[in-house]
Subunit: 315 residues, 4 copies
Amino acid sequence: MKLTKEQKQEILDQQSQQNTTKRVTSSELEKILYEAMPVLDHGFIRVVDYMGDDTSIVQSARVSYGKGTKKVSTDSGLIKYLMRHRHSTPFEMCEIKYHVKLPIFIARQWIRHRTANVNEYSARYSILDKEFYLPSSEHLAAQSKSNRQGRGDLIEGDQAKKILDLLKNDAERTYNNYEMMLNERFDGSTIDENKKGLARELARMNLTLNTYTQWYWKTDLLNLLNFLSLRADNHAQYEIRAYANIMLDTVKKWVPIAYEAFMDYRVGGMEVSAKGKLVIQKLVKGEKCDYENSKLSKREWNELMESFGFTEKMI
Amino acid sequence: MKLTKEQKQEILDQQSQQNTTKRVTSSELEKILYEAMPVLDHGFIRVVDYMGDDTSIVQSARVSYGKGTKKVSTDSGLIKYLMRHRHSTPFEMCEIKYHVKLPIFIARQWIRHRTANVNEYSARYSILDKEFYLPSSEHLAAQSKSNRQGRGDLIEGDQAKKILDLLKNDAERTYNNYEMMLNERFDGSTIDENKKGLARELARMNLTLNTYTQWYWKTDLLNLLNFLSLRADNHAQYEIRAYANIMLDTVKKWVPIAYEAFMDYRVGGMEVSAKGKLVIQKLVKGEKCDYENSKLSKREWNELMESFGFTEKMI
Amino acid sequence: MKLTKEQKQEILDQQSQQNTTKRVTSSELEKILYEAMPVLDHGFIRVVDYMGDDTSIVQSARVSYGKGTKKVSTDSGLIKYLMRHRHSTPFEMCEIKYHVKLPIFIARQWIRHRTANVNEYSARYSILDKEFYLPSSEHLAAQSKSNRQGRGDLIEGDQAKKILDLLKNDAERTYNNYEMMLNERFDGSTIDENKKGLARELARMNLTLNTYTQWYWKTDLLNLLNFLSLRADNHAQYEIRAYANIMLDTVKKWVPIAYEAFMDYRVGGMEVSAKGKLVIQKLVKGEKCDYENSKLSKREWNELMESFGFTEKMI
Amino acid sequence: MKLTKEQKQEILDQQSQQNTTKRVTSSELEKILYEAMPVLDHGFIRVVDYMGDDTSIVQSARVSYGKGTKKVSTDSGLIKYLMRHRHSTPFEMCEIKYHVKLPIFIARQWIRHRTANVNEYSARYSILDKEFYLPSSEHLAAQSKSNRQGRGDLIEGDQAKKILDLLKNDAERTYNNYEMMLNERFDGSTIDENKKGLARELARMNLTLNTYTQWYWKTDLLNLLNFLSLRADNHAQYEIRAYANIMLDTVKKWVPIAYEAFMDYRVGGMEVSAKGKLVIQKLVKGEKCDYENSKLSKREWNELMESFGFTEKMI
């Protein structure tokens, strides 16, 4: 992650603010406010604003005049109860805003979460930074054999080197040609005074999908947790998970009680179907129960056994 | 508006907070934070939290690393430009939360604005306050003759008195019977120790629609302005306009530049149709133009003439 | 449920349509299209339009040129897979529209589901029907002792009779006074030619919350299933469950495969938390596990035991 | 636009359906249902399903039991009134679904319209088609001097040829390397039996932004019109306008009355600010009014004069 001297100064200026407010504040989150936390090779994520804390969830659940909080243990019990029973609206009462730098192919996954506010850097209006994502060697994996949308074994040696060279060369070549067509370099200098530059809204089409873009992204806590339950999950593509994991950490700093409930009921929890429940009941009672008499599909049987750690029963 | 001693104290406790934050603050809005501003006879509205200010609009429009602001005049020009061209997403980057006490029939209009977060006081769970809205005499109007969903002349004298008596008596009677069915009074005292009380989720059905309820309501600036452009408009029902007008004032304190642009382009502005444009063009050129050759419906012709103040041309 | 002769004729006219279309149709749903199915004492629900069927889910999941369907068993497997893994967007590709007549206090619960399109009968513009909900004796229950938002034992005998009389009399009285204030009866006749009527937008505030209203309500299959998983659940208030159960039946006719997956994975299924998972694992392995060493709250322990049917372990 | 023999057959199969339905149908839209209408060099757009017609708008606005329609002229008057006064909810009662093939950089603009349902072809799961957008010579324009996000003069001659060559070569090269990394060609054949292929979710990052993708996109009429008012506008990028113009035509076939109202009040209409209104009033009254005493910014003055066709007053 490279920041220009000017960008660093702008961030420092924000961080040196000492404003007085009657609003609730989250002291742990304040500590990292505005900080550019590196993600992947050139990306970052920054918390740039927030509203509310754990007490805001309690306050709105109780529709109270004041803070609405009682003892910490009572508040914590209420938040857990709300999470367990999917009483979701009180979690919408907290809001957070991030500034994110990320590769375009990841931005395209991310934007599928619709209940959020977004302002993206406009490549119709401005020239994109000359930065593109290249996977590090421990993430250069082959197509999975078992999961049509996942990764399998690592690719190593010569083939890995060749792939990384292709990615790097193609990104650089297309970016250079982007500048050529614009007749302008990223630093603003003109290439050929006698020529016009192609419209930016057209030239951008030559860039590869690993080019970095950036945006402001704002959402409420409920929708953030929905995002994280999908994107911090190990079925998510590694590159978006890298962002999600850091965001999960910001949630922990911001609303520690809600975070704990989320980890217990969502991330660590699981859903069992009606048929799956019958299987578990038989297993607890010590009745005979195997795949053949379970009425589950093979895939579902294995998912159930795996999630409870009964891997010896997988077929 | 009545607040209990305990409620007043809770509000004072909130107002006495002096927290330090690196977030941007809106100094004028801070001054009235948490304050219960009276609306109608028993209602109120309070700003209980907010996020961002005018600079947040500019910052996200520019996707900047720092505050994103330049000179005040430049920022103001950008915000006006965004408002004029309905570049709406930067206005979503500011968020506000209100605590509102309001009659149920107004809550039913309000909730039609879907892009907001809401937690309402639950009458399945708790007993509603013994408070109902009664219009003051200057708002007791007859059905309009010309507008099927509006008010006409005032109703005065005996008829007014009789109507107010009916409203008052029916609200009181149904509330008393609500307590009777619950076998419990609003203050929590039991009426008859030997009886069970009807379930709250059932008993509430006996209340009239002017009973007050309350909720936490949170939305972003864009959706708040959409709400206000409809509900602070003089076609809106007076009772919701009373809330909208106070909210408009909180917008002025919070984001004064966006407020000014909103008043100029939305509230004070108007939409002219393609056919209406032809009429205006002819009028400016001094060409003959009247209803007959305008191709407008009578109603639309009159709306156009009225909004430009050419009332002598109305038919 | 009363329908006027004119309303019955309008419904018959709709049902007698025989249009030809290239769109997919759902033959079972066509059979009940437009039919007013009675709910509660005066309410109804009608399916008035729909778009798509089970094959539409498959088609969009595959982004196919044609129907996208293969063998029925393959399609069914895909839909179950999508449901199990909460791949939700393909379920948004089916849409349905209902016409519903329902008591206002239920409409207020219903409208909390925001991702839907709604047009409600306007009491600013028109006079509401003289119909109000009165619970039948088998639903007249006392407040639950254990669940602050639920029902407990039935109320019977004299107390039941008295409550029903209060509900009936108050609804009738307030409705009669509503007509009086309007100076107009429901049938359109004027009460006193020498008087003005109070504006409708004001007079309505005198009505009780069990007065019936009606609306058109349109949503996609995903959001409909979310609605049903909350409102057809036995924690939902009986009066909204009565609607949800009939809607569940329309889903079965419309998209039978998605319905079956929904019943297995959502309605009949359950969520187990990380801590709950540990409990189940111990129970299956025959290890000692009781409330004391479970780290669950008492409430959560009991919910878990109950949902697996291990009621002998509840405390 | 190339379709495989199999794709053509699938479309023909859909078009040959002759289903009977009690739902309303739109006869003009039925004629083009499923047809792949070419857009740009390799894109297309197809209407694959719809719900409702003009009468559905009227029906829900009236919350009627039957069709809700009266005379055509009355219905048309109501729809125009709803459009003029932005009574938007009845327009949400019609729904349409498109299958679209479009370049990725256009998909990224399109997806910013959040109130829609989308299923995109997954490049984590499948290999993208070997097709990329190349502008035709009449759309190869230089960056505008006056509008930072628009196009100016055409680029012609050698420079044009060079740009098109760059775009073509870079797209082909990066696509070939995409296949190389996948170790699999678009037709499914393996390149080197002794090698693993890079995971699809990674390999796709090498593609350029003009590569075609495809999706199912479903929305209601209100949100479709909002989309079209922005994207069929001449400030929109040409490439998305090409899609919007064809969609506008499908709206005309589907809901001709709503289409006409939209063209009059939205597309052909304009918004005048409070200050702009004062200018127009003076001009009509023949009072002196020029830029200096208008209180408008220069830019806004020119926009106002231009939109009314008073171009001689522009400065």
